[in-house]
Structures are given as structure tokens and as C-alpha cells.
């Protein structure tokens, strides 16, 4: 039997759109708050969703964030249209970044995005194929 979905939302995220970057994460946080999710879990989802949203803006050719809230956990899936990550273990290393000058001039590119997501999520999975795209699945336990 499929688990009951309490809430579902999809956010398209455009590449290099720095002005509205962060609006999806802000909306996710607002919606979760309305569902009564607070404290540590809310904070961890907020940090991870911001990081994954900014990664789509900075590194991808565009993609989307899918939020689903189940009774037991919050699930956030990021999928993009490329370019894909050639070396995942390097990308997961703190301090490693391929952000361009525009992103760096705004204070991004610390090389903390993926490690921050992994640290804040209870479950973290990343799959990437060069020329195809990257999928990240994060889950945050509610109980």
C-alpha cells in the first residue's frame, strides 16, 4: 500500500537565476511550518533545501525540486537536466567547488553545498551521469 502523502509541491529552478534563488526553499519552509513541523527538523530541511536549490542555480542547466511530506518523513528530490558530475567523491569533499566567478562574487562556491546537505539530511543519496543529469534524494525523519 502506498504511504499517505500529507503534502506535495514541485518547484522548477532556472539556471543562473540568482535574483529569485532561495524562493523555493523559503516556500518549503513556510509550508512545513504550516503543517506544524518546527525546531531542528525544520531548520535542517531549510538549510538542505537552500543548498540544493542554489546548486541547481549555480551548477545545473535547470531542474526541479520535488517536496513530499509523509507522516514519517519529509522527502526532497532534486533532479536536473545536466551537465552531470564527473567525480562524485571529489564533489562531496568540503572545500571543493567548480562555481564560476559570478557565483563566487556573490559569496557562493565555498565547496560546502553537498556536504551541508549530507550533514543535515537523515538519508542522502546522489546519482549523477555526465551528459544526462544529477538526482539527489534527501529524507528527514519526523518522529
Amino acid at each position: 500500500m502506498a504511504m499517505m502523502e500529507l503534502m506535495k509541491a514541485v518547484y522548477p529552478v532556472e539556471a543562473a537565476d540568482y535574483t529569485s534563488a532561495g524562493s523555493a526553499s523559503a516556500d518549503i519552509k513556510r509550508r512545513l511550518k504550516k503543517l506544524g513541523i518546527t525546531g531542528d527538523v525544520l531548520r535542517r530541511v531549510a538549510v538542505a533545501s537552500y543548498e540544493v536549490e542554489l546548486n541547481l542555480v549555480i551548477h545545473s542547466l535547470g531542474g526541479e525540486l520535488d517536496l513530499v511530506v509523509y507522516p514519517e518523513y519529509v522527502q526532497l528530490v532534486s533532479s536536473d537536466r545536466g551537465p552531470g558530475i564527473p567525480d562524485l567523491s571529489l564533489a562531496m569533499r568540503e572545500g571543493w567547488s567548480t562555481a564560476n566567478d559570478e557565483a563566487r562574487s556573490l559569496g557562493f562556491g565555498a565547496g560546502m553545498g553537498l556536504p551541508n546537505m549530507k550533514r543535515n539530511a537523515d538519508e542522502f543519496d546522489i546519482q549523477s551521469t555526465v551528459g544526462v543529469g544529477t538526482n539527489i534524494t534527501m529524507r528527514f525523519r519526523l518522529a
Partner: protein
């Protein structure tokens, strides 16, 4: 320490005067790399940064900080200020350097972590 008290301590001008100034500051931080701040930011934090674009406001709001502090008389763009006002995030600008702002906050009992 309240936001209004910090204003006085660092001779700051409040760029979001319509917001209430009685929010309590529980800790302080200085950094200009946003991802780094996302990893170390905390609720109630007074964050000193030279960055002034929209994403600074987003990071401060997501981390539930008390205020953003701009050093050396730096101003914030109207667009970012509007967002800060909408989100209820106080923005201060001080003529002092980031180093001196942090020094004064520490000397007056604002901790590094909440």
C-alpha cells in the same frame, strides 16, 4: 543584547527602521561565504558580512537570525532591503570594521554560539 542595544554599541544605523528592534541577539558571527554561513548560522545570530545581495537576506531568514550587520558604512541595495523588510529581518550598517564590531560584541557578552 537586543538589536536596538547593538545599534548603539556599534554606532549603527538601522536600515529597516519599520521593524521592531527588541529581538534578542544570542550569538555573533562574521563570514562572507554564504554556504559556510548556512553550515554555521544559528537562530538569534547577529551576522556581520560585506555581502548585500538578495541571497544574504535569504540565508539570514532561513537560519532565523536576529539581524544582518554591514561593516564600514556599507549600504544595502533597495531590492534586498525591501526583501529584508518583508521578511522581518533587521539590517544594520556600522562605520566600524567587521573586526571591531565583533570585538565589541564579544566584550559585551555576545557569545560565538547560541
Amino acid at each position: 543584547m537586543k538589536v536596538s542595544e547593538l545599534c548603539e554599541l556599534i554606532q549603527a544605523e538601522n536600515l529597516t527602521p519599520s521593524l521592531e528592534e527588541d529581538r534578542e541577539i544570542t550569538c555573533g558571527y562574521a563570514c562572507d561565504l554564504l554556504s559556510w554561513v548556512m553550515a554555521h548560522g544559528d537562530e538569534g545570530m547577529a551576522w556581520v558580512t560585506v555581502q548585500t545581495h538578495m541571497n544574504v537576506v535569504a540565508v539570514a531568514v532561513l537560519s532565523e537570525m536576529a539581524c544582518i550587520v554591514l561593516p564600514e558604512g556599507i549600504r544595502m541595495e533597495a531590492e534586498s532591503l525591501q526583501k529584508a523588510n518583508d521578511e522581518g529581518m533587521a539590517v544594520l550598517t556600522s562605520p566600524l570594521t567587521a573586526y571591531e564590531i565583533c570585538g565589541r560584541m564579544m566584550a559585551h557578552g555576545v557569545a560565538a554560539h547560541s
